[in-house]
C-alpha cells in the first residue's frame, strides 16, 4: 500500500455552545491513486472532515488529533504554509458551483487566481494553463469560456469549471464535497465519469463525500460511514455491499433505491439524526437502532473494531457493541 | 378560518414589545415620555416660553431657569417642553397622511397587479426623485411659511416609501390560502384587502411609519431651523435652534444644544423602535 496522502488521526472538533463534538475521534486515510468515500446524512460531520484537511475549521473550534496532508501537519501549519498547501497539494470541489464561484468575476479569474496570487505566475502563463484545464474537463472553446461569467454557463458546465479550478495547482489529493448533488440527474453521471477519468489519469487520491451510499459503493475503492461525528463503519466497497455490519449502514443500504432493479424493498432509517445540541452518552445511533439494547448501547461508546486482521488500519471495521449478535442482512438486501 | 388566527391581537402586540432587548425598551420609554410631555406641556412648563425677559438673556442654568435662557431671554426649559407639541404634531401629520395614502395606493396597486400596478409603480418612481425637504421648501415657496403646506408636501414625499412597501407585501400576501378562503366565502375584494389582508401586514407597515416619523421630525426641524417652518413666538425645537445661533457664536451654546439633543434623542428613539418592530414584522 502507498503512503497516505491524507491521514486524519483521532480528529475531534468541538464548537462552542454545542452538546456534542462535531467530529469525535475521526480517523481516516486516503492513499495516492485511491478513491475513498465518506458517507453520511447531512450534519454527520463529513464536510467538516474534508474542510479540516484544508485547515478550514470554523472559527472558535477546539480541536484535538492530527491531520496530515502529504505528511505535513495541517492543523499546526502557519498561514503561509497552509496557503501553499491549498494552492498545490490539496484542493476541493464544492457542492454547488453556482454558489462557489464568484458570480461577478470571469471564469478566467476563477481559474487563474491561485496561480497568479499564490504562485506569482504572470497572466499569460496562468491563462494558458487555464485553457489547458478547461480542455481537460471537456469544455468546448476554452479560450472563449475564460471571458464568460458564471451566469452564462449551465450548472454542469460550471461544475466542470469548478473541477478545473481545483486541478489548477496540480494537487495530489482532491476532496469532492457532494460534487453532483446540486446538478440535474443527466449531468450527474457525466461529472462522476469526468472525476473518475481525471483521477485515473492523474493518479489522484480522491475523497468523495456523499450522502448516497450506493453511489459511494459503486465508485469508491473504500468507504467510511459517518454518523453524528463518528466513523461507524469502514470497509472496501465490495465488503460494504456484500456484508455491511453496522446497523446504520445496513439501514442506509436499505433506504437507498438500488441503482438497478426495482425499488421495492425501500425501508427508510426511522427517526432523524441527533443534532449538535443533543449529547449521546452511548452510541449516537442507539435511539434509531432496531438492535439497540437498553443499558448497553445507550451507555457505552462503541469503539471502531477491526473485523479482520488489518495491520494498516484500513480493513473492514465497525463501531457497534452488538456486532456479534447482528446478522448481516446483505443477502436479503441484495440477493 | 377564524379571524383570531389572522389578526394580530392587541395582547400579543404588547407581549411582543417586551421581547426586544433593553435598547428597544429604553427608546420606547423615551417616546412615551416625549408624548406625555407634549400632551401636558402647558401644565408642566414653569414659565411662558413666548415671553422673553430682556434683563436675563443667554443665562446659564439657575434655580429660576433650569436650562438657562436664550438671547431673547426666553426660558429654554419651558420652550423645550412646549416645543415638543409642534415638533411632534408636524411629523404626526406627515405620517398620518403618508401612511393612509401609501396604504391605499399600495393595497390597490399590489392587489390589482398588471398594467395598473406598472403605471402606479412608475409614478412612485418619479415621486422618489423629490427629496422630502426639497418638496417642503417648494411648498413654503408656494404657500408661505408655516407648518401646513410643508406637512402636506412631505406626506407626498413619504407616501412612495409606504406605498412601495405595502404594494410588495400585498402582492406577496395575496397568494396565501386564507385570502382565497375569504374570496371563496363571497366577500368583496376590497373588503378582503382591507379587513383580511391589511391586518397581516400592519406590523411591518407600522414599523415603516415609525421610522418615517423620526425622519419627518428631522426634516420639519430642519425646515424650522431654516426659518421657513414654525414661526416665532410659537415654541418649536427647530425654531429654537435657529434663534440660538447667535448665542452659539457668542460662546453660550446651551440654548441651542438643548433642542438639538431633544431632536437627536427623539429621532434616535423612533429609528430604533421602528427598526426593531420591522425586524420582528418580517419574521
Amino acid at each position: 500500500m502507498n503512503a497516505s496522502l491524507l491521514e486524519v488521526d483521532g480528529l475531534t472538533v468541538e464548537l462552542p455552545g454545542t452538546a456534542r463534538p462535531v467530529l469525535d475521534a475521526v480517523t481516516l486515510r486516503v492513499a495516492a491513486g485511491e478513491v475513498v468515500g465518506l458517507v453520511g446524512e447531512s450534519g454527520s460531520g463529513k464536510s467538516v472532515t474534508a474542510r479540516a484537511a484544508l485547515g478550514l475549521l470554523p472559527p472558535g473550534a477546539r480541536r484535538a488529533g492530527r491531520v496530515l496532508v502529504g505528511g505535513e501537519d495541517v492543523l499546526g501549519a502557519g498561514q503561509g504554509r497552509l496557503r501553499a498547501l491549498r494552492a498545490a497539494e490539496v484542493s476541493m470541489v464544492f457542492q454547488d458551483p453556482r454558489a462557489g464561484i464568484n458570480p461577478v468575476r470571469r471564469i478566467g479569474d476563477f481559474l487563474t487566481e491561485p496561480l497568479r496570487l499564490t504562485r506569482r505566475w504572470n497572466r499569460r502563463r496562468a491563462e494558458e494553463r487555464a485553457v489547458e484545464l478547461l480542455a481537460a474537463v471537456g469544455l468546448p472553446e476554452p479560450e472563449r469560456q475564460l471571458r464568460r461569467y458564471p451566469h452564462q454557463l449551465s450548472g454542469g458546465m460550471l461544475q466542470r469549471v469548478m473541477i478545473a479550478g481545483a486541478l489548477a495547482g496540480e494537487p495530489r489529493l482532491l476532496l469532492c464535497d457532494e460534487p453532483t448533488t446540486a446538478l440535474d440527474v443527466s449531468t450527474q453521471a457525466e461529472i462522476l465519469a469526468l472525476l473518475g477519468r481525471l483521477q485515473r489519469e492523474r493518479g489522484l487520491g480522491l475523497l468523495l463525500i456523499t450522502h448516497d451510499v450506493e453511489l459511494a459503493a459503486a465508485t469508491c475503492d473504500r468507504v467510511y460511514v459517518m454518523y453524528a461525528g463518528r466513523i461507524v463503519e469502514r470497509a472496501t466497497a465490495a465488503e460494504l455491499f456484500g456484508r455491511p455490519r453496522h446497523p446504520y449502514t445496513i439501514g442506509l443500504l436499505g433506504s437507498t433505491p438500488p441503482l438497478t432493479g426495482p425499488p421495492a424493498r425501500l425501508r427508510p432509517v426511522p427517526g432523524t439524526p441527533i443534532g449538535l445540541d443533543e449529547a449521546a452518552p452511548g452510541c449516537a445511533f442507539a435511539v434509531r437502532c432496531a438492535f439497540a439494547q437498553a443499558g448497553r448501547c445507550d451507555q457505552e461508546v462503541p469503539a471502531l473494531l477491526p473485523l479482520v486482521d488489518g495491520a494498516d488500519g484500513a480493513g473492514h471495521a465497525a463501531a457497534c457493541v452488538r456486532l456479534a449478535e447482528i446478522p448481516s442482512p446483505a443477502e436479503e438486501v441484495r440477493p | 378560518m377564524s379571524t383570531a388566527t389572522v389578526r394580530v391581537g392587541v395582547g400579543r402586540m404588547v407581549r411582543r414589545l417586551g421581547g426586544h432587548g433593553w435598547l428597544f425598551r429604553v427608546c420606547l420609554g423615551v417616546l412615551v415620555v416625549f408624548v406625555a410631555v407634549a400632551l401636558l406641556a402647558p401644565w408642566l412648563a414653569p414659565q411662558d416660553p413666548t415671553v422673553g425677559d430682556f434683563a436675563d438673556t443667554m443665562a446659564g442654568p439657575s434655580a429660576q431657569h433650569w436650562l438657562g435662557t436664550d438671547q431673547g431671554g426666553h426660558d429654554t426649559f419651558s420652550a423645550l417642553l412646549e416645543g415638543a407639541r409642534t415638533s411632534l404634531l408636524g411629523p404626526l401629520g406627515v405620517v398620518a397622511f403618508s401612511s393612509v395614502g401609501g396604504i391605499a395606493v399600495g393595497l390597490f396597486s399590489g392587489w390589482r397587479g398588471g398594467r395598473v400596478d406598472a403605471v402606479i409603480s412608475r409614478v412612485l418612481d418619479v415621486l422618489f426623485a423629490f427629496p422630502s425637504l426639497l418638496l417642503a421648501i417648494l411648498a413654503v415657496a408656494l404657500f408661505g411659511k408655516g407648518l401646513g403646506a410643508p406637512v402636506l408636501a412631505m406626506a407626498v414625499a413619504y407616501l412612495p416609501y409606504t406605498a412601495r412597501l405595502v404594494r410588495g407585501l400585498t402582492a406577496q400576501e395575496k397568494t396565501r390560502p386564507y385570502i382565497a378562503a375569504y374570496l371563496v366565502q363571497g366577500h368583496a375584494p376590497a373588503y378582503v384587502a382591507v379587513r383580511g389582508l391589511l391586518p397581516n401586514i400592519a406590523a411591518t407597515v407600522l414599523a415603516q411609519s415609525t421610522v418615517n416619523f423620526g425622519y419627518a421630525l428631522l426634516d420639519l426641524a430642519a425646515l424650522s431651523f431654516l426659518g421657513l417652518g414654525v414661526q416665532p413666538p410659537t415654541p418649536d425645537w427647530g425654531a429654537m435652534i435657529n434663534r440660538a445661533q447667535s448665542a452659539v457664536l457668542a460662546g453660550q451654546p446651551l440654548s441651542a444644544v438643548v433642542p438639538v439633543m431633544a431632536v437627536v434623542v427623539a429621532v434616535l428613539a423612533f429609528n430604533v423602535v421602528g427598526e426593531r418592530l420591522g425586524e420582528r414584522g418580517t419574521r
Binding site: L85, D96, N102, P114, H151 | A141, V248, V257
Partner: protein, 319 residues
C-alpha cells in the same frame, strides 16, 4: 448589440422621467394661490408696463401645455428666467454660487466614502466584537443626527471654543476655502456616513457568509486578496446603488449647512429666495436637484452591469 439597445432604452426612460419631473416642477407655480403673475412679483411693485412684459414673457395668453413647452425649450437652452431679487438671469445667479456648493459636496463625498466604507468594512470584519458594537452605535446615532445638529456642535466646540476652524463664510483662496469647508463638510456628511457605513457593513457581511469566499480561501488565495477581490468587490453593488440618494440628499442638505455656517452657495440661495419670494430661482434649483438625482441614478444603472454582470440584461428595465 442588445447592450446598446438596453442603454438606449434606459436613456429613453431617463428622458421621460426628466420630462415628467420638469412638468411637475413647472406646473407647481399654478398651485400657488391667486394669479401666477401677481404671485411671481409678490413683495415688489411693478409698473403696469412691467406686468405686461412678464405676461408676454411667460406667454400667459397661451394654452397651458404650450406655455410649458416654451418654458422647457428655454430651460433646455439654459434660460431659467430672471431673478427679481438679484436683477440677473437665474442661470447666472445659480452658476456663480454652484462652485462653492460643489466643493462642499465633493469634500463631504470623500469623507463619506472613506469613513463610511472604512467603518462599514471594519464592522463587518470584526463582527460581534467591541469594534463592531462601536460601529453599530455610530450608525444608529449618526442616522439620527441631522446636519444642523452636527453644525451647531461642531461650530460651538471646534469653531468657537477651540478656535481651530473658522465659523462663518466661504473664505478666499484655495487653502482658506478648504479650511472653511471642513466643518460644514463634516456636518453635511454625518447622516450619509451612517447610511453608507450601514450598507457597506451589511453587504460585506452578506458576502463574507457566501460559499465563494470559502472556496477562494480553500484555494490558498491570501486573506487580504479574498477580502478585496471577492468580499468588497461583490459588496460594491449595494454601495453604489445608494449614490443617487446621496447626491440629491446632500444637495438639499447644503441648504441647512450653508445657512448654519453663513456660507454662500446654492443651498443658502434656495433659502434666501424662498424667504424673499424669488420663485423663479427656487423653481430652477428644485429642478436642478431632481435632475441630479435622476441623472446619477441613470449613471448607476448604466455602470451597474460592470459591477454585477448578472444584471446586464436588466439594464434597460425600470429601477
Amino acid at each position: 448589440m442588445s447592450l446598446a439597445l438596453a442603454v438606449l432604452r434606459r436613456l429613453a426612460g431617463t428622458a421621460v422621467t426628466l420630462l415628467v419631473t420638469s412638468f411637475l416642477v413647472y406646473s407647481s407655480l399654478y398651485l400657488a394661490p391667486g394669479d401666477p403673475v401677481s404671485f411671481l412679483v409678490r413683495g415688489r411693485s411693478p409698473s403696469p408696463a412691467e406686468l405686461a412684459s412678464i405676461r408676454r414673457q411667460f406667454g400667459f395668453d397661451q394654452p397651458f401645455l404650450l406655455r410649458y413647452w416654451h418654458w422647457l425649450d428655454a430651460v433646455l437652452h439654459g434660460d431659467f428666467g430672471r431673478s427679481y431679487l438679484f436683477h440677473q438671469s437665474v442661470g447666472a445667479v445659480i452658476w456663480s454660487r454652484l462652485p462653492s456648493s460643489l466643493l462642499l459636496v465633493a469634500v463631504a463625498t470623500v469623507l463619506i466614502a472613506v469613513v463610511g466604507i472604512g467603518a462599514g468594512a471594519l464592522g463587518a470584519l470584526r463582527r460581534g466584537t467591541r469594534t463592531d458594537g462601536a460601529v453599530l452605535l455610530l450608525v444608529t446615532v449618526g442616522a439620527a443626527v441631522p446636519s444642523f445638529a452636527a453644525a451647531i456642535v461642531l461650530r460651538s466646540v471646534l469653531g468657537v471654543k477651540l478656535g481651530w476652524f473658522p465659523t462663518i463664510g466661504n473664505g478666499s483662496g484655495l487653502l482658506d476655502r478648504l479650511r472653511h469647508v471642513v466643518l460644514p463638510a463634516i456636518a453635511l456628511s454625518v447622516t450619509f456616513m451612517a447610511l453608507v457605513t450601514r450598507v457597506t457593513r451589511s453587504a460585506m457581511l452578506d458576502q463574507l457568509g457566501r460559499e465563494h469566499v470559502e472556496v477562494a480561501l480553500s484555494r490558498g488565495t491570501p486573506r487580504f486578496a479574498v477580502l478585496r477581490r471577492h468580499v468588497f468587490r461583490n459588496a460594491l453593488g449595494p454601495i453604489v446603488t445608494v449614490s443617487g440618494l446621496l447626491v440629491s440628499g446632500m444637495l438639499v442638505s447644503t441648504a441647512i449647512v450653508e445657512t448654519a455656517f453663513g456660507m454662500s452657495g446654492i443651498g443658502s440661495l434656495l433659502v434666501q429666495c424662498v424667504d424673499e419670494l424669488d420663485f423663479q430661482v427656487v423653481q430652477a434649483l428644485v429642478l436642478l436637484v431632481v435632475a441630479a438625482f435622476v441623472v446619477v441614478n441613470t449613471l448607476v444603472d448604466l455602470v451597474y452591469p460592470l459591477i454585477d454582470p448578472r444584471v446586464a440584461r436588466r439594464a434597460g428595465g425600470v429601477r
